[in-house]
């Protein structure tokens, strides 16, 4: 158990060995992950941050290498280990999914893959303090993907806010080892465990029932030419806010900057919503129309990624739904595709 009054000390001790990030409400009211050294501004009352935590491990822009007359230097992050406090189950799970792309040596059994050193420098060795959701939002649908307000996948320690104190339950050996080093913790009583279960139960009961995606992975390739895509894509303005806010979208562009013998190679976030994303050197663009790009986003998450990695590339955080300026709701789209004949009326 961690007494609420000791949270500040806990975070500062943590900050002694880690770069600590946590959801913070800024003075302008925005709610985002930010670096913290104390408990000041930490906000556990709000559920999902505006942007996802993927940028902590996969920055919006990063230098892969720099060069000048003295040679080439890797831009590999030489940062201190990272700890994140208060990460929701959907986000912790999204990092585990991204680790399949950037961190794992194996995609399918027997297929060796490249491991991204930039990602690994940040994610391997990171400690994730996950939070049990107290108040799921109307945009939340983690339960469509096997998640729940008390999911633990991708977490090292699961934290339940019990009001006066936090219950810290280790999930991984690393989490357990770290908690063992914290002297401000006390042993949890059975009543604390009961209270924690009650919080998780109450939050779970607030979730709307999930929609079953069973069989959708197999159906989607058949729906590639379905006329329904025109209606689905019509309102989308390809702004890309969904992909930038998404915790699992991970496409990037590589850009070179340089002149007079010095320069750098950068990796920056990119989006399948942009026409330039697939523009080929010849001038041909296989996804020239909005419809094709909208279809790609759905297909990648729910057909291609499952085919390659065995899991859907969505954790139901609901950010894309909340952020969309034209109200594109992926849940509605999936429901429609699940019952294509009713799509137009859905």
């Amino acid at each position: 158990m961690l007494d609420r009054t000791a949270l500040g000390r806990f975070i500062s001790v943590l900050a002694g060995s880690y770069d600590v990030h946590a959801p913070v409400t800024a003075c302008d009211g925005s709610f985002e992950y930010a670096p913290v050294r104390t408990a000041e501004g930490l906000d556990g009352t709000r559920t999902v941050t505006g942007l996802s935590p993927k940028g902590i491990f996969f920055p919006k822009d990063e230098v892969l290498f720099q060069y000048d007359g003295d040679g080439i230097r890797s831009g590999e992050a030489s940062c201190r280990p990272i700890a994140v406090w208060g990460m929701r189950g959907c986000d912790a799970r999204s990092l585990a999914l991204l680790d399949r792309v950037f961190g794992s040596a194996v995609q399918k059994p027997g297929e060796e893959r490249f491991q991204d050193p930039y990602w690994k420098a940040r994610y391997d060795g990171a400690v994730i303090f996950g939070a049990v959701c107290v108040k799921p939002l109307s945009t939340c649908f983690c339960n469509w993907f096997g998640g729940s307000p008390s999911s633990t996948e991708g977490m090292d320690v699961q934290v339940t806010d019990l009001g006066d104190a936090f219950l810290l339950a280790p999930v991984t050996p690393e989490g357990e080892e770290l908690l063992g080093r914290m002297d401000m913790l006390t042993q949890a009583a059975d009543t604390d465990l009961d209270a924690s279960r009650e919080v998780a139960h109450r939050a779970g009961a607030m979730m709307s029932p999930p929609f079953s995606l069973e069989g959708l992975d197999r159906r989607l390739p058949e729906l590639f030419h379905d006329p329904a895509w025109a209606g689905i894509a019509a309102p989308c303005v390809n702004c890309g806010a969904c992909t930038f806010a998404c915790p699992t979208c991970h496409c990037f562009d590589v850009q070179d900057e340089g002149r007079n013998g010095r320069g750098r190679r950068l990796r920056v976030w990119d989006s399948c919503m942009f026409s330039s994303f697939t523009l080929e050197a010849s001038g041909h663009n296989p996804r020239a129309r909005s419809l094709e790009r909208v279809r790609q986003r759905v297909m990648h998450k729910f057909s291609y990624f499952p085919a390659n990695y065995g899991e859907r590339l969505c954790t139901g955080c609901g950010r894309c739904v909340a952020v969309c300026p034209v109200g594109f709701d992926i849940r509605k789209v999936l429901r429609g595709l699940g019952a294509p004949r009713d799509l137009k009326k859905d």
């Binding site: 303005v237 900057e257 109200g327």
Partner: protein
Amino acid sequence: MSVEMELRAAACRLLEEGTVDLFIGWERGSLPASAVPVFITDPADADRLVFDITCGTNPAVYFTKDHRQFDGKRVGLALKGCDSRAMVQNIMEKQVEREKVVMIGVPCRGVLDRRRVALAADGREVLELSDLGDAVRLSGRGFDVEAPREAILADSCLACAHPDASVADLFLGAPGGMEDAGERRLRRVREYEALSPAERWERTVLEYGKCIRCYACRNVCPSCYCEVCFVDQNDPRWIGGTCEITDTLIFHLIRNLHVAGRCVECGACARACPAGVDLLLLNRKVAIEVLERFGEEAGMEIGAKPIMADFREDEKQEFIMG
């Protein structure tokens, strides 16, 4: 009859008579207190139309970029003041054929900004919003509060000088529902101008430094329709792709100048920004600059020439004459 009922009746009539092939308005969204654009072809669907404080999307965006999905079709639209100005501007710029659109003005009292709604509810999720006129009632799990209307209106609406359609074939309800906030608009710009260069730089960097380069602002903007946007050109590349302030500010400054005299300050950019950048900071400044220099504003009159495409001998030319 309420404006909403009038709108449904008008859309239904236009579709039934065959005056238009398609009607664009707003319908209830899947989120609480939201409305989303809807494309109606069947007169029976006109009942889906709504019009209230949640109808933020500027439908003029659907006529530009690669959303020219209505080519050849006659389209009816419901338009707030800013939406109509964006349509007029695009007609002036020959992006939309005047005779292919039927413009229906709706009396606007401002639209909400989801961020400000959350702020008014202390960060709690609002599951129900009722419009009480000068106030709104916000409720959710375990709370029920009243807030002044101004607390949740988009910043673009709080400083809106033209709430009613500049051009409309038909105007529903009575125009002038919203107080002209032109004074407040000017004051915002004057406050920014009054800052010392160092303070102004700090304010600008603070705002535009939040940018994550997703370009949502560009894509929801009805005036941003270059065939290939300068940020997407890569041979040569005009601008770096990072989120360093040198790159982000160049992007925003160039975009500002591209929409100078064309931006109608609808605020679609600011509402769409996932990073919460107050994009009107510079857009509004440029609009006032254009107004004071040329005495005109974007999208007010169909017959007019686009402001930046026009030249008059009496224009200020102190930058040439010294």
